[in-house]
């Protein structure tokens, strides 16, 4: 029985948007296990990003409990959450969020400088197939390459968990597959627990488990007995 990496019970999140109350999460229970690749699937506004933010320590839930390994995330203050993100979490975002004034290697170094047990930046970049682009600035790279740098940056710290929010959202199908291949490879070779958010149903087939989101709740889960290779996916 694999270890439980995340455990959440009764999570809700409510925003006030002027006079309107938005219930982004309306009661979510889940468990994520070590080493698995989970896809969180749902239309926009269904609450998946909100959940990811809470799991990643970027936001607090309004009510409910969320634990990472043995740590209760809801009890952490800002400094505590910062330390949590720093030591345990790797992020990949839709718009890459690279630092424009640093080269690819330097972007990865940014993170290895503060990580507890990092892998060398060169290794991380080789893992995502960018050995030849290390000295380039983000402005000199395509969207797909930038995203792969972001992935290298995320895994260079050898995080306990990798959280990806719409990693292929800004990319075309062919490039997106390339990125998914990188994520898949990392999950296979390093065993990093990975949660991937998307609204693109085609991607679900590469996951170990899929959770469907709607109206701030998990509406259903699915276990893939046979996982597709990213190269088999297209949209």
């Amino acid at each position: 029985m694999a270890d439980v990496v995340f455990e959440a019970k009764g999570l809700t999140k409510t925003y006030r948007n002027g006079e309107v109350e938005v219930h982004a999460l309306a009661g979510v229970d889940l468990q994520l296990f070590a080493g698995e690749l989970v896809v969180l699937l749902g239309p926009s506004g269904s609450g998946k990003s909100t959940l990811l933010n809470i799991l990643g320590g970027l936001d607090h839930a309004s009510t409910g409990m969320v634990r990472f390994q043995d740590e209760d995330l809801s009890g952490l203050d800002d400094a505590g959450l910062t330390a949590y993100r720093r030591d345990h979490v790797g992020f990949v975002f839709q718009f890459y969020n690279l630092i424009p004034s640093l080269t690819a290697r330097e972007n990865v170094n940014l993170v290895t400088e503060i990580a507890r047990r990092p892998m060398p930046a060169d290794t991380a970049l080789e893992l995502v197939g960018l050995a030849g682009r290390m000295e380039h600035f983000p402005a000199q790279m395509s969207g797909g390459e930038q995203q792969r740098v972001a992935i290298a940056r995320a895994i260079a710290k050898q995080p306990d968990v990798l959280l990806c929010d719409e990693p292929t959202g800004a990319l075309d199908s062919k490039t997106g597959v390339r990125v998914l291949e990188a994520l898949s490879q990392i999950n296979n070779e390093l065993g990093t627990t990975t949660a991937l958010i998307t609204h693109n149903a085609a991607i679900k087939d590469m996951a170990h488990r899929v959770m469907m989101f709607g109206d701030g709740r998990i509406t259903g889960t699915q276990v893939n007995t046979r996982r597709k290779q990213p190269s088999e996916i297209s949209w």
Partner: protein, 772 residues
């Protein structure tokens, strides 16, 4: 946004305020002086003689071009004032017994003028009265022509002739120890044996009359009566000192405010330009929605104008208020009987105009750039900036410099012009601070030279007229006198070609020790056995160099013209001075005489010494050095402190304004990056380091140019201070540079800390969903 707008408004206000306050104070005082002189018929020409019959006054009055001539009697007298251990000095001046004075009218604050022939009634000047809390009815004693008399105060008055009441030998006015005593003409004539005669005359010229001509004619008429040379108003002591003070104010007005105004204009131009550039997406959107360029431009101009006008308004109010305060301060110091406040419309217009033009130009520049883009392009974030690798060896990751520092440095290098401009703005703030602070250094140096290296005597006794050598021995024998050095003062007119100046040659003994002469390197020198030693100012006015010959027209005693050789040029911060050994001067004057004595005395026996002096008829006045120093610090310090405090405050506001705005704008421009860093797990402290490093680097880069600018502005300012009466040396202590730098660094740190609070509030989540 409002905090930034406020910071900008304050920078504008600072520039405008300095302009308004300095001009306001200066023009008000000028107007006041002019009105005072006019209303109270301040004379144009002043002449003193030994003794001339009244008929000569009528002949003088007949000189063509003269509007009026008023003869009178004046004499020095030692005073014994209750509550004052040391002797004071009074200048007795006669008022006509019939009718009012025609020139140099008195403004009575209390009481009346003395009654005719009353030798015991006196009207005193307000400064003296205030210093001793004297009112009508008070009494004190005066040594008049060898006899001690009790005088009763019957009135307190002000006169344009004695705005600056300076005793002989004093550097600064000392209202406690120098008084003007207005007495009945007949009474003074009786006391000083001048019945039917006069020893002083004031003249008023008709408009258009040549002053030089009139002076010459008066001199010709008075020469045989012992005239020492008529003085035009510009050389009259009180007027000359007032003029020097006003010139100082004028210098401050001409140098500081334009610099302030330009610096603030530069800053608002830069800041507003960057702020509008941040509005790029909104401008693109408006254009996409169909707004033409004019409404968009108009909108931003309106916002910019609102901020600018707000700043100008604050500047006006602050400037007018501070200017009024400064005017009052000077008005009190000069005992002006009234104050005229003047507000020149064109000052306000210039200040406002420069600020508005700078602000609008800055905004326009940015708006135009964005408008030139197609709306779709504008609505996208600006094209990814092209960075260059300057740090980090190729191939290997550099561990010497962290990535955060690399980011800061590359941000700066990528926009060198902007980084340069920010640094320049900080440098200007630093320069202004150095300039404002250096006046303290210069004044301290002046004090050191004047009071501790040259005039080191405890006191200077001035005789009522030239005395024989025996007088020196009498002084040496006075109780407590440790050392006595004689001096002699002879009024001359020095001439070299077309240039000429009236001044006194001071004769000193060769082995002078109490009152010394320093060369241009501040070293005490021995006077050459023959030949003239002149100070730098005289040398420059008369175009003299060491070895040159100069013509000296002797204006007293054995008149005539002598040829003298300039043996040395020396430094002096006060007056126009020329020196010779007393022996050489005696030879020029065909006989040995003394004008006075510098003494050092045993302070324990001071009271006895003062008692003795108060009863010695031949002594006209005594000037005390320690008093002079105190007075000097009080007057100079007071005047400079107020002005400098204002300038320092404004410079700090400007420095802070530059740094704060720079930090805020950098934060806006790099918000996304900084938020990303937070997401990645960097602490708030680490993230603020990115901004902080850039700010500190820019500040450090600003230091050398800032110091240079301070030096340059300071030099301009000091030069503008010089006059015949005194020169301020140009001195900047290293500590001044350090202090100014610390203030600017403190401003940087404070702004960084304030902006850091904003970093803490970055919305991390919003940043992840938007395009780079």
């Amino acid at each position: 946004m409002w905090a930034q707008a406020l910071a900008i408004a304050l920078v504008i206000a600072s520039g405008v305020a300095t302009f308004v306050l300095a001009s306001g104070a200066y023009h008000s005082l000028e107007e006041t002086r002019a009105a005072y002189y006019l209303r109270y018929r301040f004379a144009d020409i002043f002449a003193e003689v030994r003794r001339a019959p009244k008929a000569v006054a009528d002949r003088i009055a007949a000189i063509p071009g003269l509007a009026a001539a008023e003869p009178r009697i004046t004499h020095l007298a030692l005073l014994d004032v209750p509550g004052l251990a040391e002797p004071a000095t009074g200048r007795a001046v006669s008022v006509p017994d019939l009718g009012e004075p025609r020139l140099n009218l008195l403004h009575l604050r209390e009481g009346r003028l003395p009654e005719r022939e009353r030798t015991d009634e006196v009207t005193i000047n307000e400064g003296f009265a205030k210093a001793h809390d004297m009112h009508v009815g008070a009494t004190f004693q005066a040594l008049l022509n060898g006899k001690k008399r009790e005088l009763k105060v019957v009135g307190v008055a002000l006169s344009p002739e004695f705005i600056y009441a300076l005793g002989p030998g004093d550097l600064m006015p000392d209202d406690r120890r120098f008084a003007i005593l207005w007495m009945s003409e007949k009474a003074l004539a009786a006391l000083f044996d001048l019945d039917g005669a006069f020893n002083s005359i004031s003249l008023k010229l008709l408009p258009g009359t040549s002053q030089a001509e009139a002076v010459k004619q008066v001199d010709d008429l008075l020469a045989r009566y012992g005239g020492t040379g008529a003085l035009a108003r510009k050389d009259q002591l009180s007027h000359a000192f007032l003029d020097a003070e006003l010139r100082q104010l004028d210098a401050l007005r001409r140098v500081m405010p334009p610099i302030f105004l330009l610096v603030s204009a530069f800053l608002i131009n830069m800041t507003l330009s960057r702020m509008v550039a941040l509005e790029r997406e909104q401008i693109g959107l408006l254009k996409a929605l169909g707004y033409g360029p004019l409404p968009i431009v108009a909108h931003y101009i309106k916002v910019v104008l609102a901020i600018t006008l707000f700043g100008i308004a604050i500047g006006y109010v602050a400037g007018a208020w501070l200017g009024k305060g400064l005017t009052r301060l000077y008005g009190d110091f000069f005992h002006f009987p009234f104050l005229v406040f003047r507000h020149d419309a064109d000052i306000y217009v210039i200040a406002a105009g420069v600020s508005v033009v700078a602000a609008v130009a800055g905004a326009l520049k940015a708006v135009r750039e964005v408008l030139a883009l197609a709306p779709a392009v504008a609505m996208q974030p600006p094209a990814a900036p092209r960075y260059r690798k300057l740090l980090g060896a190729g191939g290997r990751s550099s561990t010497l410099v962290s990535q955060l520092t690399t980011m800061s440095v590359r941000h700066m290098i990528r926009r060198p012009l902007r980084a340069g401009a920010t640094s320049l703005g900080i440098a200007m703030g630093l320069g202004l601070l150095v300039t404002a602070l250096l006046s303290f250094d210069s004044v301290e140096h002046m004090i050191d030279i004047a009071f501790f290296r040259t005039e080191r005597q405890h006191a200077t006794l001035t005789f009522t007229d030239e005395k024989h050598q025996r007088a020196l021995q009498s002084v040496e024998q006075m109780p407590g006198v440790l050392r006595a050095e004689p001096y002699r003062s002879v009024a001359v007119r020095l001439r070299n070609g077309h240039a000429s100046r009236q001044l006194s040659i001071i004769g000193k003994p060769r082995d002078m020790d109490l009152s010394r002469v320093l060369d241009l390197d501040d070293r005490p020198i021995e006077l050459p056995p023959s030949g003239l030693v002149v100070n730098e100012r005289v040398a420059s006015i008369l175009n003299l160099r060491k070895g040159d010959a100069v013509e000296a027209e002797i204006l007293e005693g054995r008149r005539g013209t002598r040829q003298l050789v300039v043996a040395e040029v020396i430094k002096s911060y006060f007056g126009l001075t020329a020196f010779m050994t007393i022996d050489a001067l005696d030879r020029v004057m065909y006989g040995p005489r003394l004008s006075g004595v510098h003494i050092a005395y045993d302070v324990e026996r001071q009271d006895n010494l003062f008692k003795a002096i108060k009863s010695t008829p031949g002594i006209g006045s005594i000037a005390l050095q320690r008093h002079a120093l105190t007075r000097f610090r009080e007057t100079i310090a007071q005047n400079i402190n107020y002005s400098v405090t204002i300038y320092v405050t404004l410079a700090v506001i400007i420095a802070f304004g530059v740094v704060y705005n720079s930090a805020r704008i950098q934060l806006s421009e790099h918000a996304r990056e900084l938020a990303s860093l937070r997401v990645l797990g960097f602490t708030r402290g680490e993230v603020s380091r990115v901004l902080f490093t850039e700010l500190v680097l820019l500040t450090v880069l600003a230091i050398p140019p800032g110091w240079m600018m301070g030096y340059g502005f300071g030099w301009l300012l000091i030069k503008a201070f010089s006059s015949d009466l005194y020169r301020v040396p140009f001195v900047i202590e290293p500590a001044t540079y350090a202090k100014a730098t610390l203030v600017v660094l403190a401003a940087t740190v404070t702004s960084a800390l304030i902006v850091r609070k904003r970093i803490d509030r970055l919305d991390l989540i919003a940043v992840l969903k938007t395009r780079d």
